[in-house]
């Protein structure tokens, strides 16, 4: 299994734990994955607010770079993933725009035909690798650990390619495969407010707070995410959020690949638990029930 890899700006910055653990999990599963050369920012919401066509050009360039390699493109950041897929869809649906963009790509010697498939790691792990293979590699099952899988808004909207947008199960299934107990709650795809936690705290921190509160209410020990911004919002802003929601206890928030890396028996270099403000290992040590030697 070979893929091209689009990290996006967050995975090189505050989300580096996600990148490291994701690449480590790929290595453990013998997935060959190579970062795109000279990729550019996907634009996120902010760029698209300014210039529509150039935003399309940004993402189309990344898709064209991937097309040159001929492999599926994996984008772990949910926002990048959502934007790349939306771009691909737009280029198909509105050929007159597509032609303008292709003219721009042409100038840099890039070709775009739209045959690159954009994938999310959840999709790759559940569908290409398969839950059985994941289960095989588990050395430290997270038995007894209650995990709230938070999908966020861009993995499954507006285009859902690999899971049910109303009732997603891929991350829950993965967490179950590594021994954890998924927590059911109704807010799995409710927006965490993206950049508003920083720019408009009254709005953003309220929205993120509602999510944390409900997950804790339903018994979650750890919150698991598939997007670096969701992870950032739910973890780093916990203290100011607690001013609005005093009932919230500190709860660790990790990327799902970090837990998979831990379950695979990989070390701190790969799991990156130290890159968190709310301690992770402590909770794992407290909640995971030790399994008898030799048993699974």
């Amino acid at each position: 299994m070979k893929y091209s890899y689009f990290p996006g700006c967050s995975l090189k910055g505050t989300g580096k734990a996600y990148e490291k653990s994701f690449l480590a999990v790929c290595k453990a599963l013998n997935i060959e994955i190579n970062e795109l050369d000279n990729w550019n920012c996907c634009g996120a919401t902010a760029y698209m607010s300014v210039d529509e066509m150039k935003a399309l050009g940004l993402s189309a360039r990344n898709l064209a770079l991937a097309e040159a390699r001929g492999l599926d493109l994996v984008a772990p950041c949910a926002a990048c993933y959502g934007i790349l897929i939306h771009t691909w869809d737009d280029m198909e649906k509105y050929p007159q725009r597509g032609d303008q963009v292709k003219a721009g790509l042409d100038k840099a010697g890039l070709k775009y035909t739209g045959k690159v498939k954009v994938r999310h790691p959840l999709d790759v792990l559940c569908n290409d690798v398969g839950l059985d293979k994941i289960k095989e590699k588990v050395k430290r099952p997270l038995t007894g650990l209650k995990l709230a899988s938070y999908y966020g808004c861009r993995i499954l909207r507006p285009i859902a390619t690999f899971d049910n947008p109303e009732n997603p199960r891929s991350m829950d299934d993965l967490m179950e495969a590594i021994g954890g107990t998924p927590v059911e709650y109704p807010l799995k795809t409710k927006c965490c407010s993206a950049s508003h936690t920083g720019t408009l705290p009254e709005v953003g921190q309220q929205m993120s707070g509602i999510l944390i509160r409900e997950m804790e209410k339903r018994g979650a020990d750890i919150i698991v995410t598939g997007c670096p911004l969701c992870q950032f919002n739910l973890e780093v802003f916990q203290e100011p959020i607690r001013k609005r929601f005093p009932e919230i206890r500190p709860i660790p928030v990790v990327s799902f690949t970090q837990l998979i890396a831990y379950a695979f028996g990989l070390g701190e270099n790969e799991c990156c638990f130290k890159n968190h403000t709310v301690p992770v290992q402590k909770v794992i040590d407290e909640k995971v029930k030790p399994v008898a030697a030799g048993a699974r």
């Binding site: 505050t14 000279n38 550019n40 919401t45 607010s49 529509e52 050009g57 927006c191 929205m207």
Partner: protein, 197 residues
Amino acid sequence: MYGIKRHIRYDSDRDNNFSDEIMAVPGCENLDHCIQCGTCSGTCPLSIYMDLTPRKVINLTRAGFKDDVLSCHTIWLCSSCYACVCQCPREIGITDIMYALKQRAMREGKYPKGMPTPVLARVFYNTVSNRGRISEIRLVISFLGRAHWQRLIGMWKIGLNLMSSKRFSLKAERMDRPGELQSVLSVINSPNGGVRK
């Protein structure tokens, strides 16, 4: 006078072309399919903070009340979560309409006074235009420094948190060869967008 305000909209307040201009943006063609059911506002997690709910924005855009629409908070509060698009019974691209309105507002330089989101958008845009990538911490510092430096100071604890978890980096991320991006973007132009010089 006792907080009494006069609200009336004359027909001359309408911009007859506004609705068509927005609908001409790809993704926004279905704007006039709206039956004003309110599902979008009902599902939007941010609608309770908006001065005009998404449904009202569609209504006012369709009627042509450009000034109301371009000066509201709504379009800048939208986080592009696409919940509305997935629930709309008429399959209207509401989020795309929000983007089209944002671009129009940026071009005409109209937005609520002091609203940080448009400033963030401009800083983001400039950074990507120059370097091809953004660095989160630098972005936050530069934009908050511009829009709301008191808040920036107030975030010192978060800064410390990030430092202790080794996520604080002031390194300026950039493409190895940003010129390759700039050449692509130089020939792609939006009729509807672009930062006002």
